[in-house]
């Protein structure tokens, strides 16, 4: 009976691995076939030599960095103050942060276009709207990562300890809170980075240069290069995940209370 269970476990695991990795391996192998008859990295070389790729990818990286900065500035103080001052609002705010999962991106982008293409805030052509949109899309990841980080420390007591030593709000936030949720912020930042790099609808409909719309355009024009870009995109996301894991490993929060 037990042996049978084990065999089933192996079978299901192998099935799962095949389901996830087979298309990826196939795409990778396909991306190597740009040169007739041999496997080569020609498609990758073509991608990197295309100035449009560099331009669009750089733009996406810029949007991602700006989104992360805005996200940190917006969500760290918000989550901190909610934990410290209005903990009753936590569940309501958590619900709000999940809205980007509920509202389809296409609905969201049309809402943005409709609202901000007329006075008083005519910013539909500005990158500000794109960054704001990305910040909203990355909110579930960034806010929840920060909130989880704050949960691991005794925010109230640390704040009061710093206050009793003469620290103001700025010093408390930058000297005490931010360094102690660094790992959580990094997790949120890398997840936001991955989201922004792979996001298509917002950049496409707000007509801004970005990696995903460029890749979609390339799919219609070429065969091997989009496959190479898909692999690059996966590699980038995995690298982000790997960095989160590396930074987070063994650097958990020291307990605020309790000795050993």
């Amino acid at each position: 009976m037990k042996r049978g269970n084990k065999a089933w476990s192996w079978f299901l695991m192998i099935l799962g691995i095949l389901y996830f990795f087979l298309p990826l391996v196939a795409t990778f192998v396909f991306s190597l076939k740009a040169k007739l008859g041999v496997l080569s990295f020609k498609a990758y070389a073509n991608v990197f030599n295309d100035p449009a790729f560099v331009y669009n990818f750089s733009a996406s990286v810029l949007w991602a960095v700006l989104t992360i900065v805005v996200g940190i500035l917006l969500f760290v103080p918000t989550a901190y103050l909610i934990r410290l001052r209005v903990p009753k609002l936590r569940s309501a705010v958590e619900f709000i942060t999940l809205l980007p999962f509920v509202v389809p991106a296409i609905v969201f982008v049309f809402g943005l276009v409709r609202t901000f293409s007329q006075p008083p805030l005519l910013i539909v052509n500005s990158p500000v709207l794109l960054i704001a949109g990305y910040t909203v899309l990355s909110m579930p990841y960034m806010y929840r990562a920060v909130d989880t980080g704050l949960r691991a420390i005794d925010v109230r007591t640390l704040t009061e300890a710093a206050q009793s030593l003469g620290a103001g709000w700025g010093a408390i936030l930058f000297d005490i809170i931010l360094p102690n949720i660094r790992v959580a912020i990094l997790s949120g930042a890398f997840l936001s980075f991955a989201i922004v790099i792979g996001e298509y609808i917002l950049a496409q409909y707000l007509a801004k240069p970005a990696f995903a719309p460029y890749m979609a355009y390339q799919i219609q024009q070429k065969a091997y290069e989009p496959a190479a870009m898909a692999i690059l995109s996966f590699a980038l996301t995995w690298a982000a995940m790997g960095i989160i894991d590396l930074v987070g490993r063994g650097r958990g929060q020291a307990p605020v209370g309790g000795g050993h």
Partner: protein, 353 residues
């Protein structure tokens, strides 16, 4: 001269009174403990001194300067928390020097003060350690050093030893008291542990349901409790209801057994119901020495507590505890024996309900 003063302090949370009519003057260099059960308002009062809570009414002054509405970071008050609250991202030295860095003191001055504080808490070699690398007792000593480094006018300690084990608690409380005496700093100490309060304080403020029950030295609080609550909360106490028999001669009767007290009963009438209390250590066997009150009893139980032997006796219809020092040559009675216990007139306390 009064250093810290709390005048008519009241604090309400959503209409519910947490602290009421709190008045206290603390002298410079005095060590005062707030003692009481959970929810009695002792921590709330401490937090009002620290500035984390604003009194609903009343005034807090330090050196005659009103600080009632000052923000916590504008008061020069050091605080030690139950949970240590050391900053996990900073080393011990950085933790101790943080308040000085906020005050923009020079690096040399910070370094010198940190070294001084590390020597004070005997952790000279731990300056570069992180809080999680220290034991609980060491962490709390660092928290104390951090609070003292800023040279506060008043040091507040909120149950600083309750997260530590019993042995470290005893050593550390002696250390806290020695440091406080050495620096001559005014300290307010919150605890629910009566032994801690009795051993460490110049004065104790016993609180119950947001109000002060009694303020006095540990000796006064233990030996002359003014209310039934203080008597029952501080130490073990035998209590019983009794009736005034002769207020002039201070005679009372408990289950028909007559007792004489040393306490004044001028405001009482014959037949008044009162509550009496006798500490277990004030009772002894009459066979050894007869005092003013000699009472027949029956031995009900004998418990060995190490240095003390606690004997439960039945006097009339009331169960009493009697404590006697342990002595290897002590001849203990047997359970069920009939005997006589005795106590002085001063041992019989007549309490306000």
């Amino acid at each position: 001269m009064t250093h810290l003063s709390l005048v008519n302090i009241c604090k309400q949370f959503a209409g519910i009174s947490a602290v009421c009519d709190f008045n206290l003057n603390v002298e410079k260099g005095e060590f005062v403990s707030f003692l009481g059960p959970s929810g009695c308002g002792k921590t709330t009062t401490l937090r009002m001194i620290a500035g984390f809570e604003v009194p609903t009414t009343g005034q807090v002054t330090i050196d005659n300067i009103d600080i009632t509405n000052k923000a916590p970071n504008q008061r020069n008050v050091g605080m030690v928390f139950q949970a240590y609250a050391l900053f996990p991202n900073m080393t011990v030295a950085q933790n101790i020097g943080y308040g000085l860095r906020i005050r923009k003191e020079s690096n040399a001055a910070i370094k010198e003060r940190v070294a001084e504080m590390l020597a004070l808490i005997h952790l000279e070699k731990k300056g570069n350690s992180y809080p999680h690398q220290l034991s609980g007792g060491q962490q709390q000593r660092v928290a104390l050093a951090r609070a003292l480094a800023i040279r506060p006018q008043v040091l507040l300690l909120d149950e600083p030893l309750s997260a530590l084990d019993a042995k470290i608690r005893v050593t550390l409380r002696a250390e806290i008291r020695a440091i406080q005496r050495k620096l001559g700093i005014t300290a307010i100490y919150v605890t629910h542990d009566q032994e801690e309060a009795l051993s460490i304080s110049d004065r104790i403020v016993v609180m119950y349901e947001g109000k002060i029950e009694q303020v006095g030295s540990p000796f006064e609080i233990y030996n002359f409790p003014k209310t039934a609550f203080v008597a029952s909360f501080v130490g073990t106490l035998n209590t019983a209801t009794a009736e005034v028999v002769d207020p002039v001669n201070r005679l009372i009767a408990m289950d028909g057994i007559q007792l004489q007290s040393a306490e004044g009963m001028d405001d009482m009438q014959k037949g008044d119901k009162v509550s009496i209390a006798i500490r277990p250590e004030r009772l002894s066997f009459a066979a050894q020495e007869k005092k003013a009150n000699v009472l027949d009893c029956k031995i009900e139980n004998i418990t060995f507590l190490g240095s003390v032997v606690r004997i439960q006796v039945l006097i009339g219809n009331t169960h009493f505890y009697m404590d006697t020092f342990n002595n290897p040559f002590l001849e203990l009675p047997k359970i069920g024996d009939k005997d006589q216990v005795t106590c002085s007139r001063e041992a019989v306390l007549v309490l306000k309900a």
